[in-house]
């Protein structure tokens, strides 16, 4: 017990000397801190893209909402449903009904081209035709301006993010798509979800405008409870007249976001590892330098009877203090610079733009700081071992 206290006391005092000499090595220490801060900022920044993208893709995905598509279709783009399919689907048990009307919206979408506000270059936007029950199916959708479209008219509702990203999508503006003008009658929000990147109109109008006949691509439906999914799905798959399958909306979106999420995450991790190696050399250099300038001091402590263990721990502690400082600076910097930063990217499953906001989450900040500490630990370890192995007699001869 006393031995342990004695050892801790040695560590405490030796670390104290080390930290107190940092001002004499200001340049190298500050360089190491900012090297690590840069790595953490990039790591957190890039990963916040992946987080934000996934959040946008899954935020609106309610587990109560299901998407029905043709069997074997991974995306709505590949799916096709007839009017008869839609009718049969909406009669199945497990769906929420009000006044006998099932909460089901038969939908289709086309991808149109519109110029982006910033650059003026064209990009893809989904134009979705929805049924009259769509607001029952997606209760989280709210109009932030204007009104709903009237059935049978060339009127569109624009998602908040699409309105922000694309030129001309202002309330009451006319948008030319194909040969017709469409009027923006409302703007809606989806609690940050993916629908905010879409434009909506009446499904019937869209069918005739794009010569889709009476076909749809999907049915969005709301269950009468999360437990009804199996009932509904079984009813669909056991009906010999139907060749369809159901998936929860939350699962569908997270599946869609997976590829982009993995791509961005992988890219971010790769950059962070490469930059981390750079910062590691910075930390190593700083700590070798610290050991070199303190050679005589360390040798003196050893001559007075301090053990080599506390010397090792103190140099590691110093290195990790620098790294922690860098990690916190980088994390806070990334939070201030990136959190909430709005961007768009391509959703590879629908080949259209998804708007999202970078999300610097507490767990990302934690990851960043842990990464910094890892760099600090490795960067301090080898110099610490060198310090511990210094032959005292010859180290004392150094000036």
């Amino acid at each position: 017990m006393n031995l342990l206290l004695n050892w801790l006391g040695q560590i405490w005092s030796v670390t104290g000397f080390g930290l107190r000499t940092i001002p004499q090595r200001k340049g190298a220490s500050v360089a190491a801190i900012f090297g690590i801060a840069g790595v953490v900022a990039v790591l957190v920044g890039v990963l916040s893209i992946a987080q934000g993208f996934r959040y946008a893709m899954t935020a609106s995905g309610s587990p109560d909402t299901v998407i029905v598509m043709r069997k074997g279709s991974d995306t709505e783009m590949m799916s096709g449903l007839t009017r008869e399919d839609v009718t049969l689907v909406s009669l199945k048990p497990g769906l929420r009904r009000s006044g006998g009307v099932p909460a089901a919206s038969a939908e289709l979408f086309v991808v149109i081209n519109l110029p982006k506000r910033g650059t003026g270059t064209d990009a893809n936007v989904p134009l979705r035709g929805v049924g009259p029950e769509t607001f029952e199916v997606r209760p989280q959708i709210h109009l932030t301006a204007g009104r709903k479209f009237e059935p049978g008219k060339n009127e569109i509702l624009v998602g908040r993010a699409a309105a922000r990203e694309f030129a001309g999508l202002d309330l009451n503006a006319a948008v030319r798509v194909g040969t017709a003008d469409w009027k923006v009658v409302g703007i809606f929000s989806d609690e940050g979800g993916i629908s905010e990147s879409e434009i909506w109109t009446d499904a019937r109008i869209l069918q005739s405008a794009f010569r889709r006949g009476e076909t749809y691509q999907s049915v969005y439906a709301r269950l009468d409870g999360p437990g009804s999914f199996e009932v509904f799905k079984d009813a669909l798959t056991s009906d010999p007249q139907l060749q369809v399958d159901a998936i929860r909306q939350s699962d569908y979106y997270s599946r869609q976001s997976q590829m982009t999420y993995n791509l961005v995450n992988g890219f971010g991790s790769l950059i962070s590892v490469l930059m981390g190696i750079g910062a590691l050399f910075g930390a190593l250099n700083t700590m070798y330098n610290a050991v070199a300038t303190r050679t005589r001091e360390i040798a003196t402590l050893r001559a007075l009877g301090f053990q080599s263990g506390p010397v090792i721990v103190s140099i590691l502690a110093e290195s990790m203090c620098l790294a922690l400082t860098g990690g916190l600076i980088g994390g806070v910097g990334a939070y201030l610079a990136f959190n909430g930063f709005e961007a768009t990217t391509l959703n590879y499953q629908s080949f259209s733009q998804v708007a999202f906001a970078f999300a610097v989450t507490p767990s990302l900040l934690m990851q960043g700081v842990l990464y910094a500490l890892l760099i600090g630990f490795v960067g301090g370890l080898f110099p610490a071992l060198r310090a511990a192995r210094l032959p005292i007699a010859s180290a004392l001869r150094e000036q």
Binding site: N6, L304, I392, A393, L396
Partner: protein, 229 residues
Amino acid sequence: MLETLVNVNRMVKSFRRGAEEIHVLEQLDLQVGRGEFLALMGPSGSGKSTLLNLIGGLDKPTSGTVAVAGEAVEQLNERQLAAWRARHIGFVFQFYNLMPTLSAQKNVELPLLLTQLSARQRREHAAAALEIVGLTHRTSHYPSQMSGGEQQRVGIARAIVTDPTLLLCDEPTGDLDRKSGDEILDLLQALNAQQGKTIVMVTHDPHASARAGRVVYLNKGQLLLEKPE
């Protein structure tokens, strides 16, 4: 005859520098009695510091033995040596080797961190050591605010604060002017005469060695009792 405190027996120390082997000490014998003040002289590079370091357990002999107060120093491992030095040896260095970021008081308290003393006891012991070296008025000063002579007195206070068995001084006046050097030598002499401290002092300066009770000369790896011509 005095009780033998330090017993160096058939000590060999050689260093390897590339392919070349440098024989610094060759079959060297030395006894130091308890309470003795011994001066160790010799030309530069003759191995004075090497011998002092071997006695103080900072280095290992190539062969031979060193016993201090009956303890076979060359047998101890790194860990045991550190603890042994903390307990038994007080070092005084030519360039003082004080911690620049600590006050005189804290520098002197440093070796006491390795003991079981409480913070208050450490403060009291350090204050007493600073009083012995005559620095009561400068306890809160930092090394950079003190003269060389004053810094060396802090160094001596640090060396005696644990009441070590043996004081080893490597050219303690080598970096000081005559007046400050004399004050340091007065102090060492007083520690030896009044407190019975055993002291081994390496020096180049005949003026310094004259203060010691006995002088030995290191030459070509061996000890001589007379200054070689």
